[in-house]
């Protein structure tokens, strides 16, 4: 990815599902799958991390607490994926340029079926 991509969407975080493959954040019209190192940074600067989704290492509590809050935008660039909530909370996944680390799905315009709108992998 040579330049920053910004997706402006509003949506309430409806649910969080965790598996070995990914942590999936469901915003209704947008679903985000996080596959790698995840930081949840609160407005006051405090942070929680999910070190490795694949190896199930990390603390999910900070994610559960975001259920019901609205996201405002998603920004992706070569450095990281960043999802911002209206209260300033930030979810950040640093792009280690190793494994695919995030997917963003939206409904396809004509069929309504999910389609991957952004899939970050090696730069």
């Amino acid at each position: 990815m040579s330049k920053s991509v910004e997706i402006v969407r509003s949506g309430k975080l409806l649910q969080v599902e965790a598996s070995r493959q990914e942590v999936r954040l469901d915003f209704g019209k947008v679903v985000v799958g996080l596959l790698a190192y995840v930081e949840i940074i609160a407005p006051d600067g405090g942070s929680n991390t999910i070190e490795d989704v694949w190896e199930c290492k990390g603390n999910l509590n900070a994610l559960w607490l975001l259920i019901g809050r609205h996201m405002t935008k998603i920004v992706m660039d070569e450095d990281s994926f960043r999802l911002t909530f209206e209260d300033g909370t930030l979810i950040r996944c640093k792009n280690r340029k190793d494994f695919d680390f995030v997917k963003v799905w939206e409904p396809e315009y004509e069929t309504g079926y999910p389609t991957v709108i952004h899939y970050l992998s090696q730069a």
Binding site: E17, G33, N61, I67
Partner: protein
């Protein structure tokens, strides 16, 4: 229906297209060559769904898939088409092959003709574990950490309300914070234990293969297999095998670019080379790592991670017995790859027999 008729019917349906993954429509959940896996109501269909999937994939499929189908259907009925279809990906079924689509179609036809699910499973030589599990299955049993409670939110955080934690036994050192995904009706979670060896001959589920204790493993397999972990289910008393993750001081290398959703059985994402193993090839050499433990995707068939183990001579070895096995054989995977262990010809012969005997 004659077997020839079945083949003709399948060919006609196949010509309309093949759904390699689950797809939800106004008709219900479809898979393969137009096979209606589930209508928009699951009531009373559970045994049939598990049976046709078990036949298609030639092994017992976890009843957890019923939860996934049920939720996807509920979302669909609520008008949430996007989320319904996306939810089906949680089933994590591998893309269906032509042969599996035919098996799915055949199983569906046999059940429509009145064969019972259990008779069909037995007739094809399949373990009716899926049906047994269904009878014991409690959809209200917690399976994944969830919610806002203070006790939840961290992976592998204990037994919770889901049932007793299995005993975990590993080789070589004390184990801690090993997370095991809940599988099937039995919730498996991590706990710390002191390492000890299992006695020779202990059968290991799901195939009953008998373990060889560490001290009796072949020398060239010992270094790698010291990271075996066995867990015992407190309900069934069965032992199962897993691998201790991560291995300390081991080299870790990706083997393929993609992992996670969409990764197949052979698209293993990581290879671990434990201390003492030959070094992994240079990352830019273009060579695939040979020795060590190679992890695949999570396998819904068995509810276990798939992995392959290679000894210092790059030969595939069984993590149970430590003996070398042919690289392409089903035993080169653990748990044994049910797809590879089920050949098309054997399947067709059995299916043909079921139709012919009717």
């Amino acid at each position: 229906m004659r077997f020839d008729d079945l083949e003709a019917r399948f060919a006609a349906r196949r010509a309309q297209g093949l759904r390699r993954n689950l797809e939800i429509t106004d008709e219900g959940v479809l898979l393969g060559a137009g096979t209606l896996l589930a209508g928009l109501a699951l009531d009373g269909e559970e045994a049939r769904i598990l049976t046709v999937l078990s036949v298609a994939f030639a092994c017992a499929v976890s009843p957890q898939i019923l939860d996934i189908l049920g939720k996807a259907i509920a979302l669909w009925k609520g008008g949430e088409k996007f989320r319904a279809q996306l939810h089906l990906t949680y089933a994590r079924l591998p893309p269906l092959t032509e042969e599996q689509a035919f098996a799915l179609c055949a199983a569906d036809e046999l059940l429509k003709e009145g064969m019972t699910p259990r008779a069909l499973m037995k007739g094809l030589g399949l373990d009716p574990a899926a049906l047994d599990a269904l009878e014991k299955y409690n959809p209200d049993q917690p399976r994944v950490p969830a919610g806002n409670g203070s006790a939840s939110g961290r992976w592998g955080s204990g037994g919770g309300a889901g049932g007793a934690a299995p005993k975990l036994i590993g080789h070589g050192r004390a184990l801690s914070d090993i997370s095991v995904k809940p599988a099937g009706p039995t919730v498996q979670v991590a706990q710390s234990v002191t390492a000890r060896d299992l006695p020779d001959g202990t059968p290991v589920a799901p195939y009953g293969e008998r373990v060889v204790s560490f001290k009796n493993l072949p020398m060239n397999a010992r270094q790698i297999l010291q990271y075996r972990v066995f867990s015992q289910d407190d309900v069934t008393k069965e032992w199962r095998i897993g691998m201790d993750l991560p291995m300390p001081e081991s080299e870790v290398r990706k083997t393929k670019k993609t992992r996670g959703l969409g990764a197949g059985i052979d698209d293993s994402g990581l290879v671990f080379s434990p201390p003492g193993s030959p070094p992994l090839p240079d990352e830019n050499s273009g060579k695939e790592p040979q020795s060590g433990v190679r992890y695949g995707n999570w396998n819904l068939y068995t509810g276990q991670p798939y992995f392959k183990v290679f000894n210092d001579d790059a030969q595939a070895i069984s993590p149970i017995t430590g003996r070398t096995v042919p690289r392409k054989s089903p035993e080169a995977h653990y748990p044994v790859d049910p797809v590879r262990s089920w050949t098309g010809s054997a399947f067709n012969a059995l299916l043909h027999g079921l139709f012919g005997g009717r």
